[in-house]
């Protein structure tokens, strides 16, 4: 089975990109499955179901979405293998800019949209930096110049990745993305593989349910800001 991981900020168009990608891959119905990692709730399963694509959704709830991803990805792969998929695509949402749910040796896609502001690529961090392919959506409604500035800012952070402009409505650009992703390697398990970047560290009192504010309640791993007097 081929595994492809897709990540991106909320509402950047990940689901549309995946739906277009699956169309472009031209494989029999039911041979490509999707696992959606979301936070609290999700409506994307409806879009997948409508397109006849088998989908499994998981919610991270109170757990850091990146930690949730890494502790469930092997089970997702086993679900995919047992379901007999040729391709499994994971979609991770609700990520902070510090996240990067990518695995060494597994093709990774970062989806960002042109409307999110020209400097956004410079702020996203590992999620953009460590992606093999960067898909830019919503380019059809901004000027050519803004597309070029956006692409330049992506290059600043990720100079090696492939950059593809994709229109989630018409599917323009999906062909070349599908073509590239056909190169994904075959796997049966992710055991002993490694993440490309560490997940955000967080083992503090607030992780375990503390809600009171103030020094006495802060325990474990904390990072304090330094406020200098003006």
């Amino acid at each position: 089975m081929k595994l492809i991981t897709v990540a991106g900020p909320p509402s950047s168009g990940k689901t549309s990109v995946i739906l277009r990608l699956i169309e472009g891959m031209n494989r029999p119905q039911g041979s490509i499955g999707v696992v959606k990692f979301d936070c609290l709730t999700s409506f994307d399963n409806l879009s997948y179901a409508e397109a006849g694509i088998p989908v499994h959704t998981g919610f991270s709830g109170k757990v850091c979405p990146d930690h949730f991803f890494v502790s469930n990805i092997e089970d997702a792969v086993q679900w995919g293998v047992q379901s007999g998929f040729e391709v499994l695509i994971t979609e991770s949402a609700g990520l902070c800019n510090r996240c990067s749910p990518y695995i060494k040796g597994i093709l990774s896609v970062c989806v960002i949209d042109n409307l999110s502001g020209v400097n956004t690529p410079r702020k996203i961090g590992p999620m953009l930096k460590y992606a093999d392919i960067v898909v830019v959506t919503k380019g059809d409604i901004v000027s050519q110049a803004e597309r070029e500035v956006f692409a330049f800012n992506i290059r600043q952070v990720n100079s090696a990745g492939k950059l593809i402009f994709l229109n989630g409505i018409t599917g323009q650009g999906a062909f070349i993305l599908a073509k590239y992703l056909q190169q994904a390697g075959e796997i049966l398990s992710l055991r002993d593989t490694r993440l490309r970047f560490t997940t955000p560290a967080a083992i503090c009192s607030y992780c375990t349910g503390e809600i009171k504010i103030g020094e006495p309640y802060q325990m474990g791993m904390m990072k304090k800001m330094e406020f200098k007097s003006l």
């Binding site: 059809d140 000027s143 050519q144 692409a151 290059r155 600043q156 952070v157």
Partner: protein
């Protein structure tokens, strides 16, 4: 090359490096390193940065040094393969009824081709084939050659969506910048050496194309539809590196369309205009007629059609005149419909 930058970053003061490569400021900002000592070399200055701060970005000191060198290398102007694109050739595949398209059309830099056909006939599919440089592997079976040669997959990926610039009625500016700042920002991304000169040319040209003039201090988001289109076209002509331009039906309000497309052609771009506007369609050199998912025919614009262009232009001018009169608060009379003078 990266090695050269490594030695520059370890030997020369940071301030000097940044003077020569101002783009370096962006790297420092990306990694929150903008307050480094300017009189030290980058590698020396790094010693004062806490390792933990670098680790947040997945870097150590050596990694930061290497990343900076790679960054400067990445943004050093290089030979641009896109500048070598002098022609594309469309070799027919088949239409929706699986009948073959008997077409082999070469379009050279400076040529204007219009594309006509009903909605849903397959115009977008043709534009998609061009954008992804189809090699008989898309639904249409078409092949697109560049400078007469086929491309392998690696070359196709290398183009990275830079081959084609697009311009359509749906596009808007979303950046919160003035016209001047906007042009400067684009020039910076193209690593243009003479920023002032290029932005001035762009600005002047956009104003010539626009029906109503605008100033350099206007916010791009406040430009009218026609002014936006004029700025986009001037910007694409002078600053975009893409050799091919796809234009999707630009409205005829507030911009001189013929002049705009003529400008792009003069800049040696390959121009494809999807339009049913007679003025634009007949100003082209040829037009592609799309029916049932395929190229039904390619019409060379005849002398007879070119002659009718004069009358169409008069009609168009009349409409423009009426628009200007209405804008100025005048009352329209039959006399306005006749040729002036």
């Amino acid at each position: 090359m990266t090695a050269d930058f490594l030695s520059i970053l370890t030997s020369r003061p940071l301030a000097e490096v940044l003077r020569e490569y101002p783009i370096g400021w962006d790297f420092l900002a990306n990694y929150r390193l903008h307050s480094l000592g300017p009189e030290l070399s980058f590698s020396q200055a790094l010693l004062e940065v806490e390792e933990e701060a670098l680790a947040e970005f997945g870097l150590d000191r050596l990694g930061a040094l290497e990343s900076f060198a790679e960054f400067l290398e990445q943004f050093t102007p290089k030979e641009n393969p896109l500048a070598e694109v002098k022609s594309i050739t469309i070799i027919g595949g088949w239409n929706k009824a699986k009948s073959p398209e008997a077409v082999s059309l070469t379009i050279s830099a400076g040529e204007i081709i219009s594309i006509v056909g009903p909605t849903g006939s397959g115009k977008s599919r043709l534009l998609n084939d061009i954008e992804c440089l189809a090699q008989g592997d898309t639904l249409t079976g078409r092949r697109i050659l560049v400078n007469g040669a086929e491309l392998d997959d690696l070359q196709r990926f290398e183009m990275e969506g830079k081959l084609v610039a697009q311009l359509s009625q749906n596009m808007n500016f979303v950046m919160d910048l003035t016209v001047c700042e906007f042009l400067e920002m684009h020039a910076k991304c193209r690593l243009t050496p003479n920023v002032g000169e290029v932005t001035a040319t762009c600005f002047q040209c956009a104003n010539e194309l626009a029906g109503e003039k605008f100033s350099e201090d206007t916010l791009v988001t406040q430009l009218s539809g026609g002014q936006s289109r004029a700025l986009m076209i001037a910007d694409t002509a002078f600053m975009s590196e893409s050799p091919i331009i796809l234009i999707d039906e630009i409205e005829n309000a507030g911009i001189n369309r013929r002049q705009a497309i003529g400008l792009l052609a003069k800049r040696e771009k390959i121009i494809l205009v999807s339009t049913h506007d007679p003025l634009l369609a007949l100003s082209a050199d040829k037009r592609i007629v799309i029916q049932n998912g395929g190229i039904a025919k390619v019409i060379e614009i005849s002398e007879a059609e070119k002659e009718s262009l004069g009358i169409i232009e008069d009609l168009d001018n009349t409409m423009q005149r009426l628009r200007t009169a209405l804008r100025a608060g005048e009352v329209i009379s039959m006399r306005d419909l006749e040729e002036p003078g």
